[in-house]
């Protein structure tokens, strides 16, 4: 095996970059439109660099989620863990279409977004295992991860949507041409506060892209059994909407570029429905097969897997070679292993952290403890 890969590496090294195309154009699925005259373009251009970057990012997220699954089963990660594998095209596609200065908020299936918004894998895994090297100092866990311009990571279903509108208002107010992507799932789409937010965003023309990640199941309930209307992109009623194939990264990217342009030009909010799929159950305590068949999961995996889709496109259009992508896989695996090592060996946050960051306080105050003789100091 070693000899074969050695030969492959030599072959790859001897092929110069001139052997690969620098870019290729792909036809992408048309989006369903609601209250829009035109939609995103029907073709997308993918450069070799972009393709390799997207591939690496998606593969990293995939492997990171699988590693989290493994660590959870070993009881090194405890509590709740909602995995994102299968939906990678959504977070990578969205990030590809917006700027780092734009804002994003999502619900609890947030590991992918935490990564695309700039947190390292080791910080994410350390947060899952509850160590002080975690991105929220080990105090948040799976559902509460944050980064610059990424507002989490929210546990209560639908509660993040009004927040997203608020962020969008701030964007408009500061006038720096920034927008806010407010994500929620098909289950949350039935929450009252989401509709309250639609109204506010449309009334005040907030630069907010509402994104419904429709993975067909709200925990164990399929969309047909939860919603009177499963056309989530139309549920904004007076807000224009798009329905997009969320398994195709290029579709997501082009649609988001279109939506971002809509918001930035001051036309107000817009709604995107990403039709996607999650391979794992709702969380680690859900096997994911009591409300859907294994055949269904297998079918999606074989026909619409976002990473395979990208890989096939790149290889078939001479943007990259199979060996090159395999090398990226090896690199990613190594990175994840190291991160997992860090996450399992980093110490837990010190006890003092229990009482920190309750309030913003100056000077420090005493946190009342379990009985009148135990008090704890909130130092910051």
């Amino acid at each position: 095996m070693g000899a074969v890969s050695e030969v492959a590496r030599v072959v790859v090294a001897s092929r110069t970059y001139a052997d690969f195309a620098s870019e290729a154009t792909f036809e992408i699925k048309k989006c369903d439109l609601h209250r829009l005259e035109e939609g995103p373009p029907a073709t997308a251009v993918l450069t070799r660099e972009e393709g390799l970057h997207y591939y690496k990012t998606m593969q990293t997220i995939r492997r990171m989620e699988l590693k989290a699954d493994q660590l959870y089963k070993q009881k090194i990660i405890r509590g709740f863990c909602h995995l994102y594998d299968g939906q990678e095209a959504c977070c990578v596609g969205l990030e590809a279409a917006i700027k780092p200065t734009d804002h994003l908020i999502t619900a609890y299936r947030a590991h992918g977004y935490t990564f695309t918004r700039g947190t390292s894998v080791r910080e994410i895994l350390a947060e899952l295992t509850g160590r002080k090297g975690g991105c929220a100092k080990g105090k948040g866990g799976s559902m509460h991860m944050y980064a610059k311009n990424f507002y989490g990571g929210n546990g209560i279903v639908g509660a993040q949507v009004p927040l997203g509108a608020g962020i969008a208002l701030a964007c408009k107010y500061f006038g720096k041409d920034e927008i806010c992507l407010t994500l929620y799932g098909d289950g949350a789409a039935n929450q009252g506060q989401v509709f309250e937010t639609y109204n506010m965003a449309a009334l005040w023309k907030l630069p907010c892209i509402f994104i419904c990640e429709n993975n067909r199941y709200g925990m164990g309930t399929s969309v047909e059994r939860a919603a009177a209307s499963t056309d989530y992109y139309k549920r904004g009623d007076y807000i224009p909407g798009l329905r997009i194939d969320g398994m195709d990264l290029l579709c997501v990217r082009e649609a988001t570029k279109f939506a971002a342009e809509h918001c930035r030009s001051g036309k107000g909010p817009i709604l995107m429905e990403l039709q996607t799929y999650r391979y794992h159950g709702h969380s680690m305590s859900d096997p994911g097969v009591s409300y859907r068949t294994r055949e269904e999961i297998q079918e999606v995996r074989s026909k619409s897997d976002p990473i395979t889709l990208l890989k096939d496109r790149m290889v078939n259009n001479n943007l990259a070679s199979v060996e090159e992508l395999k090398e990226i896989d090896v690199e990613v695996r190594k990175e994840i292993e190291e991160a997992a090592q860090f996450a399992t060996t980093d110490p837990e946050p010190p006890l003092e952290e229990l009482s920190n960051h309750i309030y913003c306080n100056d000077p420090p105050f005493e946190v009342r403890g379990p009985n009148q003789w135990i008090r704890y100091k909130s130092a910051c």
Binding site: K139, M143, N190, P370, W373
Partner: protein, 372 residues
């Protein structure tokens, strides 16, 4: 210093003396902070069957739906049996128009439940976790609680019962471990009930469903599987607003509800063995309206009171009990009333074993009260 090492050092080196400490990290994180002690099987209600807490809830709901043809159960995922298996088999038995799922909308669930109850049908709503009850808070406090009062008794939603899993579970973190009974205790017009065991749960739940006032029934989720008892198969009712003295004593009164009752039972045993102190244990059961008479009578006898709950200290229900008891029994008190509760922080993720008022903290508080 690591969390575990600090806690171990505090336990071993401290005034409590040598206490058994789990040997490995895995054992530490999986050891429950209490031991469930089942009550003897009740003999007054006919044949009994071994059931755990969620099975006793299913049995209660089964009895309720059988007896009352207007009773309906609804909530998120109740049709297939519920995320904690409390409604297993009910849809098959009673039909899909009596046991049905709602979409993900707590405010809608409770509002809808109030509507069902106002027409006179019995509505049993499930909120998937007590932590999610807050979108429904307005409906409960502003609508359900005040319906009878504001209509001059023309209308009421007394046939509404809301059930929710409650309390810490070992790995729940911020949004799957809360104990919000104190928020609802502040609202006249509703009843708040928390059982400690399967036998209690079935009897109290059936009483809540029968009760002509809107009731909130919190079920300690950590006991769903851990608590197993012989529970009567037929209906039986345990009266609301009556606290129960589980063990008589002469030196200290300890009051708790739900899971914490089992913690203070352990503390009472420890106190008897190590300090020769005789403790009276009271399970409050109904938080609102609470049985002031039983508690005050006990404190008059013993002179010392310790109240314990998982919810944060400030504004927790122990504060209400403490305040009332000092009003009624001021001259009988030998020591300040002790409240052993959670810290005033959000319910933590990694710090849970340190946050909860476990038996060591209760024991420590008790000791300090005895030596006052």
């Amino acid at each position: 210093m690591g969390l575990r090492r600090a806690a171990v050092a505090a336990l071993e080196g401290g005034l409590l003396g040598r206490v058994p400490v789990p040997s490995s990290a895995a054992a530490w994180r999986h050891a429950a902070h209490f031991t469930f002690q089942p009550d003897p099987a009740p003999s007054a209600h006919g044949q009994t069957q071994k059931m755990n807490l969620f099975q006793s809830i299913t049995s209660a709901l089964d009895n309720a739906l059988a007896k009352d043809p207007t009773a309906v159960i609804f909530g998120e995922d109740v049709a297939f049996g519920g995320v904690f298996r409390c409604t297993v088999g009910l849809r098959d038995k009673y039909g899909k128009d009596r046991v049905f799922n709602t979409p993900l909308c707590e405010q809608g669930i409770v509002g809808f439940g109030i509507g069902v109850a106002v027409t006179g049908a019995t509505a049993i709503a499930e909120i998937q976790f007590a932590d999610y009850i807050f979108p429904a808070f307005d409906q409960i406090v502003n609508e359900a609680a005040k319906y009878r009062y504001r209509s001059g008794d023309l209308f009421n939603c007394g046939s509404l019962t809301i059930r929710a899993p409650w309390g810490c579970v070992g790995h729940g973190a911020l949004y799957h471990s809360q104990s919000p009974e104190a928020f609802f205790a502040h609202c006249p017009g509703i009843k708040v009930v928390i059982p400690r065991s399967p036998v209690q749960a079935k009897g109290l739940l059936l009483s809540c469903i029968e009760d002509k006032n809107p009731c909130i029934f919190f079920e300690p989720k950590i006991l769903y599987r851990a608590a197993v008892e012989q529970v009567p198969v037929e209906s039986y009712y345990i009266p609301l607003s009556q606290a129960e003295v589980l063990q008589e004593g002469s030196d200290v009164t300890m009051v708790a509800w739900g899971t914490q009752v089992h913690v203070i039972k352990d503390v009472a045993t420890m106190a008897q063995e190590k300090l020769g102190v005789s403790c009276e244990i009271i399970d409050l059961k109904t938080i609102l309206p609470w049985d002031t008479e039983t508690v005050c009578k006990s404190v008059v006898k013993t002179g010392r009171l310790l109240i314990s709950h998982e919810a944060p200290l400030t504004g927790g229900f122990a504060a209400e009990i403490s305040s009332t008891v000092q009003e009624e029994c001021f001259l009988n008190l030998e020591a300040p009333i002790s409240r052993v509760c959670g810290y005033d922080t959000p319910f933590p993720h990694i710090f849970e074993p340190f946050y909860i008022p476990d038996k060591w903290k209760c024991y420590d508080a008790l000791r300090q009260m005895i030596n006052y």
